[in-house]
Symmetry: C2
Subunit: 338 residues, 2 copies
DNA sequence: AGAATTAGCGAAAACGTTTTAGGGGAGAAG
DNA sequence: CTTCTCCCCTAAAACGTTTTCGCTAATTCT
């Protein structure tokens, strides 16, 4: 690896001058700056990140907090889509990404310790247990943080627009003649709460009756529970004409259970999901769902974080909502009353 | 952050002594070593990785090469399962992981340059274009490398046992009475070639006729192509009684197309996938498939790599195959000839 | 012309570690 | 008593940057 010392020798200047030339300091003449930069490019010089980190505590490394207890985070298509976009955008801007964990050198440490240990320039919280004291610790650590789908105090947040998403879905369902909607929602969280509130509000606006026993809790991706609830719903005297699942995975599972039970989808009952994962659109009938724009979310998050790292003063902390699109497939049919 | 200097001051020894005590050098008396270690633990000392990297060029950081042109790598359940396991195992052993890319500081560099730039201790090639000169460059760079599902010269490799996997599937299919099997295989690669060879070999052993026009190429995860081929197959005079897809995604897609075409699965035709992704097992009828053990693969890969990093002499380079399990679901039925 | 300012550059310290070479002291051998 | 070993430890250099301070020479001002 070529170092500043070699460049300095070749250009007959001191190491200090090379450093300043490459870092755009003002006390270097344009001429020497040009010469030094040309030589540096020619030799393929890159600053040694270890040496730089030692002096400046900046590493061009951003941490990603990406944890879920089931260790299925990476296989969750929405989150991994976000991660992929964070990764791509960060790399384009010259940052590498590192996963934050609890261990280093065989010893347990907190997330915040890990982040300072590695001198991470900033952190994107993609998926985590937001109430975990350790996660809170990260937010309080002073390292710039951007979070996805959860608002923390005093840091920017990229939110999928769950309010609009749910409204769009309900409006679509309503426009297809449905008034008996069952809503299976995930466990309480920022996301679930927003969707739930939006569901109630939109139904109220559209004058859709919402019996309490049609609002059921079903953890995200819990196909067992979704199947069970689906069976229960279809055993009732007054069956729903449309079932809204917490996500596409449970929706696909529900769809297949309904067929198993000899119901025709969408003739007998309509099925709607949430997320817009690929497999849901890959076969017929395509799933009606709301596609969350994971790419935009991840990319906006990375850009926001890096702005904050590079211009801490002039970057305002804000909540940015990213909208999704309704994908209408044949699992949602027209309901003819009576 | 507490440094060696502070520990040295407290223990009334020199910084060099602290370093040697913590690194198990022999020229430190057991007594002083004990004292120093106790103090270090008490103060929560961790060596500064930047300073250490500057001197030793080792970072306790391993790189992951994880690229695919469609930027869907992270959303590929098998690969992301492997990645998750690599990440978990590496972290347990004190290593962080970093994605290797083409960019740093806005400039393009090769994978190998990136890896040396960041002083990565080793690299796991999880998913990449193995013929890419840049990837070859990584293997040749001298940095320890372990690859998944592709054998490179002079480096360890973790292979999913595609030969056994395919044999198990074909034997199962045969035992259910099928003799007209259509095999949709992926684009040529180490993996595809192994499966294809195993398919032919097993069919020969079981005396299953394999007409050439029943062996069709269908890129992995290409549901469009899978659907098209499925339609074509079912228009033939002599239809297959079982279709073997390149992966679960295309299998699920094919399954639904078949239903769309009013075929009953498995009564009219059986469907078999490969991979064992979660969604395939989450609804009825469950997909018959071969579950690849992504967790074991990733974890073995990480352990092998770290062994190689820490004991370069005594770690032998080898090809380790990891077997999978047949998952038999109701998409494979018994075929009654005639 | 002399004084004051400024532009351009370099010397050296510092970041926190590892490692080499060597030194002091105690005990053993002569 | 001197010399040789050996044990335990330290001083100092080195890794590759960044940054502070100061210096020289050139330019501007009085």
């Amino acid at each position: 690896m070529v170092s500043m010392k070699e460049i300095a020798a070749i250009c007959h200047v001191s190491v200090a001058t090379v450093s300043k030339a490459l870092n755009n300091h003002t006390d270097i003449s344009p001429e020497t700056r040009r010469i030094i930069r040309e030589k540096a490019d020619e030799l393929g010089y890159f600053p040694n990140p270890a040496a730089r980190a030692l002096k400046t505590h900046s590493t061009y490394n951003i941490g990603v907090l990406f944890y879920d207890e089931a260790h299925s985070g990476l296989t969750h298509e929405y989150f991994s889509g976000v991660l992929e976009a964070v990764k791509g955008t960060a790399q384009m801007r010259g940052y590498d990404i590192t996963f934050i964990s609890h261990f280093v050198g065989g010893k347990r440490m907190t997330y915040a310790q890990h982040a300072t240990y590695r001198n991470l320039d900033g952190i994107v919280i993609v998926c985590a247990i937001f109430e975990d004291p350790e996660v809170i610790g990260v937010v309080r650590s002073g390292i710039p943080v951007v979070s996805i789908d959860h608002t923390f105090n005093n840091c920017s947040c990229i939110m999928s627009d769950n309010v609009k998403g749910m409204r769009d879905l309900v409006e679509l369902i309503h426009s297809r003649g449905h008034s008996q909607i069952a809503f299976l929602h995930g466990l309480p969280s920022t996301v679930t709460d927003a969707r739930l509130a939006s569901f109630y509000k939109t139904c109220a606006e559209l004058k859709i009756q919402v019996p309490e026993d049609c609002i059921l809790e079903c953890p995200y991706h819990d196909t067992e529970r979704a199947n069970q609830l689906t069976r229960e719903l279809m055993l009732r005297r007054s069956k729903p004409t449309c079932i809204l699942y917490p996500d596409d995975i449970t929706a696909i599972s529900g769809l297949n259970i309904l067929r198993e039970l000899q119901y025709s989808v969408p003739r007998d009952v309509s099925v709607v999901g949430y997320d817009g994962i690929a497999i849901g659109q890959a076969f017929e009938p395509r799933l009606t769902t709301l596609r969350q724009d994971a790419e935009t979310m991840g990319s906006v998050a990375a850009n926001k974080l890096i702005d904050q790292i590079e211009h801490p003063k002039s970057t305002i902390k804000e909540i940015i909502t990213v909208g999704g699109n309704v994908l209408e497939g044949a699992t949602l049919g027209v309901h003819v009353p009576g």
